[in-house]
């Protein structure tokens, strides 16, 4: 038998108090010179034996009251085997042991990590469980896949090596899902007596949700729940909470890419500057972190540059601390070789700058940026493109066929950009009927007719995230030079919104919109109310035209260049290119493994998706496959630790108890290492009952002994 609070056993010396009081009382007496000694002796002789017996019995009961009280508050544990199990009255029990293997269990403040202690306690507990019981062991990282299911403790201990090789994962706890899995296990348990033991560090993160229904079920079933707290008070931890790129425009070679790392130090005093390692596409470089104030998030800007197109990785690694698992994060960035724009010229002309799109083409292809333009004179050619462009620019095209519009809608919905310029050739009815479609189509606004009033200047609207924002930084005089003799009036459907907004207006009496933007699926569409040439405006000859066209085109180019972030424990879904014909050797290599694991691919929304869910370890995974031509492709996937696990705040006993409502949850906190730690059954309840019974007996006995005799 062990005790959860053995230091309190020193209180057993108090058991001598009744005896001491008894002896002191014997010293406090009155001396009486007495004459009828003969009769006194005679009476005492007759009653002495009974009196002595009664007094010793009373003394024994009073001593027992103190002994039982001290034992109860020292919280004794009877081992499940041996005579203790008989005393505790346990029947054959189905036991479910939940081992918390979340990231925070790797926290090491003094000697061993919390997980190491929990693992040792798991083994100790298994050794104390009687052979008649059946044990299921669940890990919080995969609660639906028990590592042992309804086995005897001895059978589980035969796989001791497997148990000893268990390590904490980089996953976050989701206790609601975990306990639902426990509940499911209990429902198919062999015995009606059920016991749940949770070995955890009591980290508060992950206990969100409503446990009332679960607790009520368990209470009704008489399931006992014990939580063994193996955590230690944290002394300090530096965490890399995120590594993200806020902008989502395409990344091109030789272009600065700005990332932001969020750091946090939880400790008593500020963390002085410390070195870290930034690994960009396998090339490591050192950097110095700033001083980290305690308890505050610090944003660290990081600029990287890639010199070639392809999929690149960026990994930031902090120095070691008490919890190394949250010190590194990675990001996968796809670098495009060039942006591709397709311009459809509705009024081509071989003469220089007399064609509809000459100015536009020049604006987009100017400079060193790898922007590629392709001018088409027939919209029908869109359907023959091998590769979907990043954006399509339609300039003064009379009308589009339904199939062309379908192609545009499909690709804009997937992220392609569309920029529409009006002109003399535009068939308003066709545009309104097919492209606008009462607000359901691609066009942001209905075309109402040509306004021939002269307007001087362009006013850029202050709209958050507007692609024309660079224009707003120009001097107002620069935009005031723009003269417009004609422009298309439009009709906006209802109020402006996030999905449909005016980016700029002409400086006329009505403030006619100059550029209107709408979101369409994953892509966006911008309607210019003037042509791309100088038929209606002098703007194409103005330098601001280049800036405006490039800003809008660059902003509307295809999105989705940043790979989605995957958190450890979550499934990876990767859309494979093509239709899967000839797909072969689809596999993934985890960061701590050398042998790749096979991955299955399946159709999801007409896309071929590779899914992999064994991401308990954070780091860079490598997905690889071969196509029908035996070409090998690889795709790095960044799996990052959950930021919530870096918050080492713990639950108090009251917090945990309140989550379980009426269910009485016993929380065991071993005081010192090596102490009996919850294996077996607590018997403080029977002891309290015994204490109450003893106190009642003592009261009755004291009254009976003290009666007049």
């Amino acid at each position: 038998m062990g005790f959860l609070s053995p230091l309190l056993l020193t209180g057993l010396v108090l058991a001598s108090v009744p005896l001491i009081i008894h002896l002191l009382n014997r010293r406090r007496f009155v001396v009486v010179e007495w004459a009828p000694m003969k009769h006194l002796k005679l009476t005492l002789k007759t009653n002495r034996r009974r009196l002595r017996l009664e007094q010793w019995l009373l003394l024994l009961i009073r001593t027992l009251v103190i002994v039982v009280l001290i034992l109860a508050i020292a919280r004794p544990l009877l081992p499940a085997t041996g005579p203790g199990s008989w005393l505790s009255g346990s029947a054959r029990t189905s036991r479910v042991i939940v081992l918390d293997d979340s990231l925070s269990m790797g926290y090491t403040s003094t000697s061993d990590a919390a997980f190491v202690r929990a693992r040792a306690l798991l083994l100790d507990t298994l050794e104390d469980i009687g052979s008649q019981d059946r044990v299921t062991i669940l890990l919080t990282s995969a609660p639906r896949q028990p590592i042992a299911s309804e086995l005897s403790a001895a059978d589980i201990l035969n796989q001791r090596a497997m148990l000893e090789s268990l390590k904490p994962t980089d996953t976050a706890n989701q206790w609601h899902a975990t306990l639902e899995a426990v509940d499911q296990t209990l429902q198919t348990a062999s015995f009606s007596s059920r016991d749940v033991l949770i070995l955890t560090d009591m980290q508060a993160a992950g206990w969100e949700g409503d446990f009332a229904a679960l607790a009520a079920r368990w209470k009704a079933a008489g399931t006992s729940v014990r939580v063994l707290d193996v955590g230690e008070a944290p002394t300090g931890n530096t965490a890399l909470l995120s590594l993200t790129r806020e902008a989502n425009d395409p990344i091109l070679p030789e272009q600065d890419v700005r990332l932001t790392a969020t750091l946090r130090y939880d400790g008593p005093v500020a963390q002085p500057p410390s070195p870290a390692t930034l690994i960009v596409s396998g090339q490591a470089q050192s950097l110095m972190l700033p001083e980290l104030p305690p308890g505050r998030d610090v944003a660290l800007p990081i600029t990287v540059r890639f010199n070639a197109a392809g999929t690149h990785t960026v990994r930031l690694q902090l120095g070691n601390d008490a919890m190394p698992a949250d010190n590194a994060r990675a990001a996968v960035l796809k670098v495009r070789d060039a942006l591709r724009f397709v311009i459809i010229d509705g009024e081509p002309d071989v003469r220089p700058f007399m064609g509809e799109t000459d100015f536009l083409n020049l604006s987009l292809s100017a400079g060193r940026a790898p922007w590629q333009t392709q001018v088409l004179t027939d919209p029908a050619e869109l359907l023959t493109l091998v590769e979907t462009p990043d954006a399509v620019l339609i300039a003064n095209v009379t009308a589009l066929t339904q199939s062309q519009i379908d192609w545009l809608e499909q690709n804009v919905r997937r992220g392609m950009g569309l920029i529409v310029y009006v002109g003399d050739l535009v068939d308003l009815n066709a545009y309104n009927d097919l492209l606008y479609r009462n607000g359901e189509g691609l066009l942001p606004a209905a075309l109402a007719g040509v306004n021939e009033e002269v307007a001087q200047g362009l006013v850029v609207a202050d709209v958050e995230g507007s692609p024309l924002l660079p224009m707003a930084q120009l001097a107002p005089a620069a935009l005031a030079r723009i003269e417009t003799t004609r422009r298309m009036s439009v009709t906006m459907p209802g109020e402006a919104s996030e999905a449909r907004r005016v980016l700029a207006n002409w400086n006329d009496a009505e403030g006619t919109p100059a550029a209107i933007e709408r979101s369409f699926g994953a892509g966006r569409v911008v309607l210019w109310t003037v042509p791309a040439d100088k038929a209606w405006t002098t703007w194409p000859t103005d330098p601001t035209y280049v800036l405006a066209m490039r800003s809008v085109a660059g902003s509307l180019a295809r999105r989705g260049q940043t790979q989605p972030t995957v958190i450890a424990g979550e499934a990876v879904y990767y859309e494979l290119p093509g239709d899967g014909a000839g797909l072969n050797l689809l596999q993934i290599t985890a960061p701590d493994q050398t042998d790749p694991q096979p991955v299955t691919a399946s159709k999801l929304n007409d896309k071929l998706v590779a899914a992999y869910n064994a991401t308990q370890r954070a780091g860079l995974y490598t997905l690889s496959w071969q196509d029908g031509h035996s070409r090998t492709f690889t795709q790095p996937i960044a799996v990052n630790p959950p930021a919530a696990e870096s918050d080492l705040r713990t639950l108090g006993e009251g917090d945990l108890a309140s989550r379980f409502g009426e269910l009485d949850v016993t929380i065991i906190r071993p005081d010192t290492a090596g102490q009996d730690t919850g294996a077996g059954r607590e018997i403080w309840r029977p002891l309290i009952m015994a204490l109450l019974a003893l106190m009642a007996v003592e009261t009755v006995m004291a009254m009976w002994v003290g009666r007049e005799r």
Partner: protein
């Protein structure tokens, strides 16, 4: 007459003087008194008047005197002789016990009783003697009916030191041998001694024709055992000590004491001896006057069994 402030209390005397102490048996005497003499032929001449007190024989009322003075007088005749009373007072250490709530120790109370009775008897011209007894007779005053005798008795009582052990039985035997004439023997004691020897001595006195009066004086503490918590009982006549908690056996003790007193009472009744139990909280004057009055009024033959033939409350009486 020198009267003790300590033991001779006028208020008690006032309560008992009118009653007198009359011998219930015939006594031998050389001086005329209240008591019938076994010696016939003595003058039956009128001797004196005495004021009537309840219980007196109405035949002895002098109606003429009543007619003259409108007061009741009893005629006393020469045929009445005097009483020779010997008071044996236990002055052992056990008699000095005085309960914390009591005004007098047992000895003081007993001495007051002795002084009162002695004074009463001397005033009614009966001879009264005193024996102070512990392991031996410390004072032996032969009965006399003089004022000097009264003073000597008072002085002896006041100078007594109750600090020795008790050997009441042997002392009583020796006193019995010394008293030649039949008379009244008044034993005043707590009787916390070897009672077998006391009963032997009583038997001897009965054999010699003495009338006996047993006055047992006890402190209420000795009957009730009123102590709480822990008490170290130290033998008042020895060195033995007993540590006990009286609340645990008070009832049993009281029963034992009641049995003890009842046994004495039964024995005395069997032998025709008056047993008067006095507690030191009792109103002495009232108790004595009640007793004396009862003694005068109760008539009839008392049992005269021998102490030696007593066999207990059932067997002995049969």
């Amino acid at each position: 007459m020198a009267e003790s402030k300590a033991y001779l209390k006028p208020e008690i005397l006032a309560q008992i003087t009118k009653l007198g102490l009359r011998a219930e048996r015939v006594v031998e005497g050389s001086i005329s008194g209240l008591h019938r003499s076994p010696l016939h032929g003595v003058s039956v001449e009128f001797a004196e008047y005495r004021e009537y007190s309840p219980g007196d024989d109405l035949r002895r009322l002098d109606w003429r005197a009543y007619a003259r003075s409108n007061r009741h007088f009893i005629k006393r005749y020469e045929e009445e002789t005097n009483l020779r009373a010997t008071i044996i007072l236990d002055c052992s250490a056990s008699m000095k016990y005085k309960g914390s709530a009591q005004a007098m120790s047992k000895f003081d109370y007993a001495a007051t009783v002795a002084a009162s009775l002695a004074t009463l008897m001397i005033r009614q011209r009966d001879a009264s003697g005193l024996v102070l007894a512990d392991t031996e007779e410390r004072v032996f005053l032969r009965p006399a009916a003089t004022a000097m005798q009264q003073a000597q008795i008072i002085e002896a009582l006041e100078s007594a030191h109750p600090d020795r052990q008790t050997e009441l039985g042997p002392v009583m035997r020796r006193v019995a041998e010394k008293i030649k004439q039949r008379g009244l023997v008044i034993i005043i004691s707590d009787l916390l001694c070897d009672l077998d020897k006391v009963y032997d001595a009583i038997g001897m006195m009965q054999y010699r024709g003495h009338e006996l009066l047993m006055v047992q004086v006890l402190d209420p503490d000795e009957i009730e055992l009123p102590f709480g918590d822990s008490v170290l009982f130290r033998d008042i006549e020895g060195s033995e000590e007993i540590h006990a908690e009286p609340w645990a056996f008070r009832k049993a003790y009281k029963e034992a004491m009641e049995a003890f007193i009842e046994d004495i009472r039964q024995r005395c009744r069997f032998c025709g001896i008056d047993h008067l139990l006095l507690q030191t909280t009792d109103d002495m004057g009232l108790t004595l006057s009640h007793y004396l009055h009862r003694r005068q009024t109760v008539t009839g033959t008392k049992r005269g069994g021998r102490m030696s033939s007593y066999r207990g409350p059932t067997g002995g009486d049969s």
